[in-house]
Symmetry: C2
Subunit: 342 residues, 2 copies
DNA sequence: CTGAAAGCGCTTACAG
DNA sequence: CTGAAAGCGCTTACAG
């Protein structure tokens, strides 16, 4: 049997309360007593049972997740992941409230942040929008000691405690390398479809993509990026038009999340007998189908579940004033082709 | 506050013990009583606190992991993952004993399995070798009700309860698609380096690889597979020889784990001014370096940590007679290029 | 078939 | 500065 607090208390010749004080670095213990307890812990190789500790503490962590009520599949998945995490939260003693805000609305978002700060919250996770009122709201929260973590989309130059999301420039670089290599030595033009280039993730992906393209694939030229605004008909017509206007377009990088319009456009393109090597983001029922049918060649994905769980771990650590293990919280960019779909 | 057993007991007008009996589907409860309790649970939306339950049960799961004492980096990582899981096992009440067996020795492995069965074990995870004595040992264990999970390498046509590892034919297909697409329309020969084709994983990877190559890349011909036996000098000389013998060799798929010899050979090849598009398995310090330096083009990876945690979850479920959620236990094949390295 | 009581490993007021 | 006792939410003999 592993040693318990009782064993430590006996070994050190003190009471349970004192053992607890030493273990949790609480004040009010004589140096000499502290040493005795520490030696006992060391000697018996004691490791605390966190589950029992949590049970006894009865402490719970009421967290707030602020999510945009977007239509796209990825956001739906993210929301589902939060709900699921909340259901599993019993053991972890977490308890999540979801706050919905209109998408792409910086003022609504900053209001929601401030409102969340007025509730009994132990920490806030937020899908950020790059805007000063948002930065300001985050500053107020963190100033008051409320941990704030950005989720999926970061807020640069802000006081947020952590970013739980992928390295977006790296995602863009990954897309560029794969697209460049799939097209090997061919010459041609590459289309780029963004949701909106005023969103930081998309900017960053585009930057990473352009960088690698310029450095390694001089045979390929990038066309001016299109902005589909997650709008099906708009994205579709933009892509169709680009395909028609640029007969030399042989590749396409879709760095946003709204894939439906893109897929429609690619279907039309295929019907005309043209194939465009395409890399898109986020795995969903639709994008998966497109990958399986060969309409997409690669899907880059961020795992919503991982992001949510990471955000919670970090919020908890911050709430407890603990350090975050950076390496453990890095969110991976998954590459999927039709052969390694999960 | 979430309802507890006390609330349920009060609501149903019974004692804690009875609530517990109903919750855990233990016998000896009158139908009428059971219904009362179930209704109370339903009404209050009760969800059991697993951590508290485990604490009270004091139940622990002594599992046995049988691992080959291979030299390669992947096995070292797997071992580390087991040790780490064991350290975190306090909350989960798991307690893992690692048993070492000589690599590639079926008799030693079957002996180890039977020996593990004689200890106080709640379940066994094993890196399997395809051989009848092993199958026979597994049959004896499962017959006695001891759960057995194969890890990383499966044992086909056996009575093992579960396989915690990647879909190896899919891994081979993934390699083929990427290699074929990177080589685009070029003509040439593809080398294949295996550890040993008598190991099931390697057979399966090779089969998946060959299938896709034959179906989609008629411009590429597969050379007879080489067997490097995880032996540095042997693998190196095999590859060097193949490169020299086949001036048209433009691609290489290394489906085993011993990457050091391969890397040495590729360095020599590069020094001679030839570049071979190479896909290898398993991320380690060495393979990562090779990827970064461009010696490798892609690394396919299985996450040892995921595999170990999955094996433990499954063993626990089996030990408790619970069902396994298959989708949750699927182990992913990760694709790494230099841009999305974690 | 059912219940009262003790206990899992920890923490927390409260007293001294 | 230190300790005795109660309690977190559950389970388990033991008695009836």
């Amino acid at each position: 049997m592993r040693p318990t607090v009782h064993d430590i208390a006996a070994e050190a010749g003190v009471s349970l309360a004192t053992v607890d004080r030493v273990m949790n670095a609480r004040p009010g213990v004589r140096e000499k007593t502290r040493v005795k307890v520490e030696q006992a812990i060391e000697k018996l190789g004691y490791v605390r049972d966190v589950a029992a500790a949590n049970l006894a503490k009865g402490r719970s962590y009421p967290f707030t997740f602020i999510l945009p009520c977007n239509e796209n599949a990825f956001m739906a998945e993210l929301r589902a992941a939060v709900i699921q995490a909340n259901e599993r939260g019993r053991i972890e003693r977490t308890q999540i409230t979801i706050v919905d805000v209109p998408a792409f609305d910086a003022d609504a978002l900053s209001d929601a942040l401030l409102a969340a700060g007025e509730t009994d919250t132990a920490g806030i996770a937020v899908v950020a929008i790059e805007a000063d009122p948002v930065r300001e709201a985050v500053r107020k929260l963190t100033e008051r000691g409320i941990p704030v973590v950005t989720l999926v989309s970061d807020l640069e130059d802000s006081t947020r405690d952590h970013y739980a999301g992928v390295d977006n420039p790296a995602a863009g670089r990954t897309a560029a390398t794969l697209l460049g290599r799939f097209l090997d030595a061919r010459n041609g033009a590459i289309g780029v479809l963004a949701g909106s280039l005023s969103v930081r993730d998309h900017q960053n992906r585009f930057a990473g993509f352009s960088q690698i393209m310029a450095a390694h694939f001089p045979n390929l030229t990038i066309l001016p990026p299109m902005e589909g605004r997650d709008d099906l008909p708009l994205a579709r017509s933009l892509v169709c038009e680009a395909v028609d206007t640029h007969p030399d377009m042989i590749g396409l990088y879709s760095l946003g999340a709204g894939n439906r319009g893109l897929i429609a456009a690619l279907e039309e393109t295929r019907a005309k007998g043209r194939e465009i090597v395409t890399i898109a983001h986020e795995l969903s029922v639709h994008s998966r189908e497109a990958l399986e049918s060969g309409l997409f060649d690669v899907i880059l994905n961020q795992d919503a579940g991982h992001e949510v769980r990471s955000a919670i771990r970090v919020l908890k650590a911050k709430a407890d004033g603990l350090a975050v293990i950076a390496a453990q919280e890095r969110i991976r960019i998954d590459i999927f082709i039709k052969d390694n779909l999960p």
